[in-house]
Amino acid sequence: MAHRAHGRLWLALTVVLLVAGLPACASFKDVATFASLSANGAGYGAVAKDYVGAIDRRKQYQPQKFQGELAALKTRREAQRASLDVLQQTITDYMQGLGDLASGNIRTYDESLKDLGENLNKASLLTDSEKDAVGALATLLARSVTAVYRQHEIRKMIQDGNQPLQDVAMAMRKIVRNGIIPDLQAESALVERYYDNFMLAPGNPAEPVAMALARETKAEALDRVDDRVQSAQRYNTMLDKIAQGHQYLYDHLDMIGNDKPGGQFTPYIESLRTAYRDLLEVAR
């Protein structure tokens, strides 16, 4: 009787595994790393903040008679702030979603396995080796099912999300590259004009100390604008790397969830990591 029951137990577990019939290989680490870096980089908020804050900075470089039009411009930019934030936040949310999918809920799943272990200990009619075998098979099944589900969802998400992601990233890049950076260059011209006026205006007495101080202050002010330009340029590069990496995943959907993407996808992750590091460096 015990022998027959024993046989049925193995039969039952074998059937479970056969029914599930799922592959065990599934490495999502690369996708998770890519998504995590992308989420962190895309959420970099200094560029949009600088864009809106630019008007306040420029007030000091312009006579009072221009303050009214600057105030109106500031109002227009403040009205755009929410849209800029949504654009960035949407990329961040998407990447966090992708990252969560790729990294899975391993903790939750492992906690459940602990419950399984406790229940196995209560199964006093099973031998130790049977308990070990049952535990191993249940773990395998759980991981297989989870892996296939995640693989399916990740592929679907990347397939559906690629075009809108490319569009949104392109929109943000266009804003940064064609709008925010040239606008900062206009700010640089304003700063330069302000100090040149002080030093070179007709009739200005050439006070050596005052001139030296003005040159120093001008250089510092221009450096600050240049830092902002660099920050925007690096953010633009970051977005470009995000778009390229996601495009690669989209072009190689069938490889996601197995070990194949590792080697070829690694350069995309590395260039993204470098771009993120550069961004953080200029943000200091």
């Binding site: 411009l73 949407t90 535990g135 249940a138 569009d167 606008d183 011209a189």
Partner: protein, 140 residues
């Protein structure tokens, strides 16, 4: 200006900004020939042009933001789907609970409750199928 594309508007901003910079360069180079009044007048023009350039960039950015609304909506929808999928994976704990129950059943089988095994297998099979095959859940 409303008929310009965003790209054309950005380019217009660049032209205006560059014109202001060129004007400033000319003013500096010719400062010895300019009166204070002429210097100030040109300075005002440069400021106006630089502010105008910033205003044009702001308009162009607004145009890009408007154009991005459609892809933004689609991407948001994908984000929502991801959140739903993640929620689904969390629910897989139920499948594990069923697997755990199967083990207990198996223990019971050894003592003679053989009839319980198929039901436990079916339950687990259903749970696994519901997760692996999202059709009928939120994968539409």
């Amino acid at each position: 200006m409303s008929k310009l594309t965003a790209d054309e508007t950005f380019e217009l901003g660049n032209l205006v900004r560059d014109a202001a910079v060129s004007l400033g360069d000319w003013r500096i180079e010719n400062r010895s020939r300019l009166s204070q009044k002429e210097w100030d007048e040109l300075d005002d023009k440069e400021i106006s042009l630089l502010n105008f350039a910033s205003s044009i960039y702001t308009s162009a950015i607004g145009m890009v933001l408007d154009d991005s609304q459609a892809p933004l909506s689609r991407l948001k929808s994908d984000v929502e789907h991801a959140k739903s999928a993640i929620q689904h994976i969390k629910a897989f704990k139920q499948a594990l609970d069923l697997a755990s129950a199967l083990v207990l059943f198996a223990g019971a089988v050894a003592s003679g409750n053989v009839a319980e095994i198929p039901a436990a297998i079916v339950a687990l099979e259903d749970s696994a199928a519901a997760i692996v095959n999202p059709r009928g859940s939120d994968d539409n």
